[in-house]
Amino acid sequence: MSSSALTALLISLKVSLVATLVVLPPGIALGLLFARRSFPGKSIVETLTYLSLVLPPTAVGYLLLSLLARRGPLGVNALGLDLDLLFTWKGAVLASAVMALPLVVRTARIAFEGVNPRLESMGRTLGMGPLRVLWEITLPLARRGLLASGILGFSRALGEFGATVIVAGNIPGKTQTLALAIFNDIQIGQDDEARRLVGLTAALAFLAIWISERLLSQRRKRA
């Protein structure tokens, strides 16, 4: 493996892992909210959450770029401090996380909807407050679906291209992930290197799905 390929691989792993960790808490919280609560304007909030599922990633990237630009609402002028996200690996994390959010929320929502709410009520009658019910009953019962949601989020982040290239650029050794490196190599006619990277991403994707399936089947046996 060439050293540039290895660098791209490490950046990809770092960005995807951190993006997954960043997106899971809000994603799970939103999934729980959509599965268990009804409130005015719920359908609007849900639609907004799922929007980036169908928007072109470049459009999402452009929105993020506008938000984070010097004069944007989250830019240095408005906040008075520099988040230092644009054209850094953190920007790639943000772009991947935003793109992964709808998938994580949807999968988490389905996971929570599979938990019988009467079991939660049962926990309440046994003296557990709402938070303990969440911790001891809802989350453990939804864990398979939540795991799947995390792996889906990771895989989505791994393949993210459009939003990342706009927010983080395509800087080798800094923000160039596997997906970006493949694009780069094709552009400059390095087909051999591109082919190697495609093989690498395929192996990585295979590994992620294989591990998740293994985890799920082990849990199924134990649970």
Binding site: L119, L126, I137
Partner: protein, 370 residues
Amino acid sequence: MISGITLDLNVPLERFSVEVKWETEETSLGIFGHSGAGKTTILEALAGLRPLARGLIRVSGETWLDSARGIDLSPEKRGAGYVPQDTLLFPHRDVLGNLLSGARRSEGPWRRKLSFERVLEVLELRSLKEARVDELSGGERQRVALGRALCSGPSLLLLDEPLAGMDLPLRRRILPYLIRVREEFSVPTLFVSHDASEMRLLCREVMVLELGKALARGRPEEVFFDASLHPVFREEVFENVLQGAVRELKGPGFLVELERDLCVLIPRGGIVGAGKVVFGLRAEDILLSLKPPVGLSAQNVIPGIIRQIRRADAGEEQDVPVLVEVAFGRGDLRMVASITSQSRSRLNLAEGSEVHLVFKAQSCRILTVH
């Protein structure tokens, strides 16, 4: 400790609303009614799972709900040991994990503390401690759910049809556990069922519920005697519930002593052990005879005196059932026979008449042995 339960409950449902009042010092309570009468609604309202419930709930001196004063305790603060019909065991925990789910509350200073070891023993759960919940049989699930509720330090046990969906042999095995729990832990219990005989066995005071309203309330013997004449329950036959000690095996049956020197023969029904046996005998399976019958195949003949006669109120219909309550033995035992109003006038039966109760051993069905 103040005992007793005060209920003044209103829960709106889709087709009707549940409205019941109940104030009692008794601790073994039952709600009897057909499915859809609102029984489970009352249990859920007590457990705090019905946000629309209004009124007053007071259990052993604690106020759980008082809408007038704006009190509505959340379920975790109420101390209800709820055992729903489908048991709702936690599938991600083993039996021990389930049993201990509510243990934290039972450590609160004001909670009635039941010994965990004692619960394991009484419900015979020790050998199941490490079992997975989905490996349990129906009866075991019921016992675990009951144990889990007991271990949460409840001040009121709520049992929703604990024997529903079980066949007779399984009921016979589970009933003794319920009886034992009542005797051992003295936790006030509200038991919901559509089986009058089980209620008679387990409850000291019952409410008959129909479409959310109480039709009758009181001691089970009396309530069911009256209720079986009510048009809603006409189709159901009154069943006598009797118990006694097994004295000897006689052919294919048991000789059961109801009181000293008063034995009846009942079928063994696959039961081997001895001890106390509880059996049911339907009112319509009992014949009344003015003189002791001779040359009869039925093996049980008991002399007694008619205490009261009730006739269903149904105008001039001829075949209206008449319930005849007969006192026998030394005077404390009662049995109810159902005859037609024609037979009644033919035999000229009246309160105080001497009669003989006649029934086949095969008409008795064993409810449980304990």
